[in-house]
Symmetry: none
Subunit: 216 residues, 4 copies
DNA sequence: TATGAATGAGAATTCATTCAT
DNA sequence: GATGAATGAATTCTCATTCAT
């Protein structure tokens, strides 16, 4: 579920032959989308500083100068990616509230998230920084939102520990998500690296259960 | 537990008052150590590409050219940091085996690790890459070692689940460690950002308990 | 006979008046040519190590970064110069075979070669090395070709001495060419430094005659 | 016949164990000599700019800083080499006058010169420049002296051509010497590269004969 | 809208030289 | 006299960005 459509296999070079129709008129939006897609992948995997605008443009099969045309700057492109990712995640995780307090439902929801390449990239991107302080609040805001949703999804429940304690525990759940993403991105640590959604669902449910629905 | 002493806050400019005596002869080792220290911090927090050799040298209060003198290249310095960190962690986590199967002991041990700035930097560094493929095996090797130790620390126990399942669960515990480190590095996500060792110990013990020892 | 035209005195700064029109689109080849020209002169006269890419770019009236754009590296530019020079010389000296055995024809041909600034630069460049071993065969190959042509131009003749002896003598003729070039480059050794083509033709014919055709 | 004694094989690394006696006192002169020797070789073969003071010091088995101690600067060391070489050559070639007008004597004398590694280095060094204009006159002076000696060695003779014409021819003889040296330094052009003194003597005599003792 | 060409700032690295034992 | 340590000036190269078609 990328910002803009197309894209089947991973990192499609998007050759010029891709768009035989609509040669000029209105092709701007398409180009913009292609750039957003490849930028997200590059930024997520290599980090902001290690990514070259030329890398991105080449991946998108598009001239470099167009990055500045459509996004003003590399920084601007990064921000656009971040915004897109945040929107996506806010939307996707809106469902968390509906999951109710059942830990295994949260667990398998998380497992699904982590097993998808697209969502992995999204999480990864949230950990990347361009060095610009302005984007920090965006990132932190999303994390806060997310952990609050998670806390309140189970918070009505039982023992009702101190709010902060519950929030901390929710953030630990979040930590697992990021930790798994980050370790899986390293490629090479088996069995985690190639664990399927099914492999992850069980352990994650246990984990959520232990942290949030706490006896103790 | 850095290579060379001092170091309290982040990036100490190494004022002249740091070491008033022993000015030239034989001061090489000290300089090397200062560079390793500031490099570790910079690489861990900003990543390899975003870190400038000048940043590092300035932090260490030392001439830039000395980086090449002592480490051949920026890349060489990074590798040296990685090696140091790995040695440290292998050593530190050697104790894991002795922790026995008690989850709360593992939990509070992990809490101590995560609360220390030095160890946070170490974990963070493990996630950074200079782009050189040669360092990948070092990283992965440590992670493998670590997760195996963790698995076998509890493996003797009871039900003895399939080795891979246990390993996966151990790697999920590792994931939390990395996830927490990565989120805490963002600064700004409260209460996680300023949680103390005590705050973390409880939830982490629950987590370890659920993942490793647990009924399942 | 340079890659691109103009060029009278040494190091022409390529004033704006050089090419007022055709400002951007498609000007790449021209720029490449300007760089090749100034590089050849600089490398030939100052040697590889003593030549700065900035020198070359300034001589060509062009931004330094374009050297890397068009030739990848300083080394790449050097190699390109070498290739161009070799092609030129192989072509130019193809005529040697046609000169037949008449020594005065070879002598005056050589005189013409040595008196031309462009060809001097070509010979000089053949003596320069960037330190890269890969270019050695190119150089030696040309010298071999050249001396063989020279040898066989007269070889059909008379006594037909041992092939090696003849080749050695041909290489001595080559040596004179390089020696003269090298000494003339020093500027300051009169009358050699400012000897004209006519001044050189006679002595050189005698020399060729003595070495190659000769009674012996 | 190097500037300072010792030195058996080519490029002896001169290990510290070389001088077991006279540990300190008076070792300065020795060090100076070692440096001059290795500098000459390096400068001759690699050129001034491509040679690092560290190369030289390492070859000599001596600390780098001593170059500045004894010769003030890299430039100073180069000048010292040049002076030494010039003195040597002025002395050695003083004999030319005595050779009389017999071309074969001059030829075989030249052959001896070219076949010796030491003298090759000397000639090579004369073609190297540090970029400092001050050394130009030294070089040119020697060349002038030498060609005049050569001219007057045969000048008394017969036809007595115009002085300039004779001088030019003498300089062409010089050119062969430099040309051969330069081509032999390239290593790889056979048979010239490994021609012995005997191989060279004959052709060179012919050449000298044709150029200087000219019928014509 | 798109593109090749050009630019300038900044990065790592090398190197001659100087300092302080 | 000799040496390891340190320094600052250069040099090559990369890269985001802007220009002119």
């Amino acid at each position: 579920m990328q910002a803009s459509g197309s894209q089947a296999g991973p990192t499609p070079p998007a050759t010029a032959a891709d768009a035989p129709s609509a040669s000029r008129r209105g092709s701007g939006a398409r180009t913009r989308g292609l750039l957003l897609d490849s930028a997200r992948r590059r930024f997520a995997h290599d980090g902001y500083a290690a990514t070259t605008v030329r890398d991105i443009a080449d991946d998108a099969g598009v001239n470099v100068a167009l990055i500045n045309r459509y996004f003003q700057s590399k920084e601007g492109l990064f921000e656009a990616c971040l915004k897109a990712v945040i929107d996506e995640l806010v939307h996707t995780t809106g469902a968390v509230g509906d999951l109710g307090r059942a830990p295994e439902r949260i667990g398998s929801y998380a497992a699904g998230l982590l097993a998808s390449d697209d969502h992995s990239d999204a999480l990864l991107l949230l950990l990347r920084s361009s060095g610009d302080e302005r984007t920090e609040p965006m990132r932190t805001g999303l994390l806060r939102t997310f952990s609050e949703r998670l806390a309140s999804a189970v918070g009505r429940e039982a023992g009702e520990p101190a709010r902060d304690e519950l929030l901390l525990r929710a953030q630990l759940v979040l930590s697992v998500a990021f930790g798994v993403t980050v370790l899986r991105a390293s490629r090479g640590l088996e069995p985690l690296a190639s664990a399927t959604e099914q492999d992850l669902a069980g352990p994650l449910s246990d984990l959520v259960d232990a942290l949030l629905t706490g006896r103790r």
